[in-house]
Symmetry: C2
């Protein structure tokens, strides 16, 4: 099936704006770069840090970031093993911001779900020491952080002067809801970014991972009413059927998901192809790319 | 009704991430700034450059930008007067990118809708001379443009060396789909940004305006299949019942919409309140704001 519908070819925007993988001319397009990348350029997601959130509409896959939020990742794994989220819901969707989910009655003692073996108190994990963290730097300037790049496969900021690094609130990133107290999140209430990157939240809240597949199942949900997107009627919430660690499923039932390594030559080529687009559509290559505009390719390999 | 649901107060993220209007502490929140802004800080949208796109689910309101795309704005107005889009559709929704609409059969001569009085050829309007354009500069650094700010109420970039200015592809901005030829758009195929700002498109395509109300009606639509989000089955397209210039409606049937002036003290205060958030939730004010993170408040005034 051709990438473009001939009947729509001249409907415009289709040709290139539409096609992140469309490329003509001298440079190779995204699809070609990915197709040509060696096997070593891909890394398998670790089933011990991969969540499957099953909705009626399909599966959302989240990769956890224990390199940045080890306590939260552990607690989320504990909650998943305890089937905590089964029967909970996506109870809030705010346009150009987040979809948030968990136990909507979590604050009402008589109604709150049992946290099981999970910790009731965790440290805030807003940032970590930069030392010891492999950081694939993106050379492009960033208004929010001294340096940006990718660490453990996630978009991140770093300040060499402070010696700190932290995850960035790009599209699809998942964080742990909290109250005003920094250490008030336990990973039971989670949110995913579904709009313009709210980078002002970086270093202010614990990010725990990223949606690697199925983000559209969250981003296309009806928005709750303003100002914050909470559904007024519980019947409007989207039920979560289950959340499981991939490792809980028999190996032959898991999705074999791979992510392109951010230290690979293929990734660097892909970033450059997007930083300076040279297909026929673009008249002026930008010469810049923002951290949160960098695509992080993922593929599902047949078992 | 309180801004926060007591039962959800500790569900986290609610308190501040959730609430663009939530503020405690020494600074005034967005809602307070807006409530206190004088009448002179608000400008009425001009019905001659305001479009109402009516879907079954509700109305999308688009403000056109004739200061940047005069020929496209004129042609879009002509098409609207000719009721061109009545019965057309939103035929493509690509996650983290655009919702695109118009005549899905526009390239098939036997099926294409009659363009009526509209021009069949327009100049590309990717940018304009900076001279003569009132530009409310945002002092924050930007990776894509030498300078950023607001002109005619729209987010824009500017290069003083080149003497050029252009609209920026922030969330909700509306552009005119085209083919590979720069001057191949006529404003009949339009798209709205529904994800992370694709700023690489700035100066590469004609932006024509901005969704000021109802963007959620586009951003929450089901996504079409990859790679580009075109619906495979025409029955999946969202019908557009009508598109009208507000001026076509009797005055008492129009929405009286006002936008906060970007040269107002209230706007400057609002931008600073978001650049450095000082409510109890935020532990580290960012000290920076990106052009596309700046909210452009709009209100509907009772007639």
């Amino acid at each position: 099936m051709p990438l473009l519908r001939p009947a729509l070819l001249a409907c415009a925007l289709c040709a290139a704006v539409a096609a992140p993988s469309f490329a003509e001319g001298q440079t190779r397009g995204v699809q070609q770069i990915l197709a040509d990348a060696p096997l070593s350029a891909w890394r398998d997601l670790d089933p011990e840090r991969t969540l499957y959130m099953d909705l009626d509409a399909g599966r959302v896959v989240i990769e956890l970031a224990p390199a940045f939020a080890p306590a939260h990742a552990r607690n989320i794994a504990t909650l998943a093993r305890g089937h905590f989220w089964d029967g909970t819901s996506i109870y809030r969707v705010q346009d150009n911001f987040v979809a948030q989910f968990g136990d909507a009655e979590g604050e009402e003692p008589e109604k709150a779900r049992d946290l099981g073996q999970a910790e009731r108190k965790l440290p805030a994990e807003f940032e970590r020491a930069a030392a010891g963290l492999v950081f694939d730097r993106l050379p492009d300037a960033d208004g929010w952080a001294a340096e940006v790049g990718f660490a453990d496969g996630f978009p991140a900021g770093r300040d060499p002067r402070e010696g700190k690094a932290w995850l960035a609130h790009c599209y699809g990133m998942v964080g742990a809801g909290r109250n005003a107290e920094p250490d008030s999140s336990i990973g039971a209430e989670l949110y995913a970014v579904i709009g313009q990157s709210p980078r002002q939240l970086d270093r202010n809240i614990t990010l725990v991972g990223r949606v690697v597949k199925g983000i559209e199942l969250l981003s296309s949900l009806p928005r709750g009413p303003e100002p914050m997107g909470f559904y007024e009627d519980p019947a409007q919430r989207t039920p979560i059927r289950s959340v499981r660690l991939a490792s809980e499923l028999p190996a032959d039932e898991r999705l074999h998901i791979q992510a392109l390594r951010t230290d690979s030559a293929a990734f660097a080529e892909l970033v450059e192809a997007r930083r300076n687009r040279r297909d026929d559509f673009y008249k002026r290559p930008a010469g810049h790319i923002d951290l949160c505009n960098v695509m992080l390719p993922v593929r599902v390999v047949a078992n």
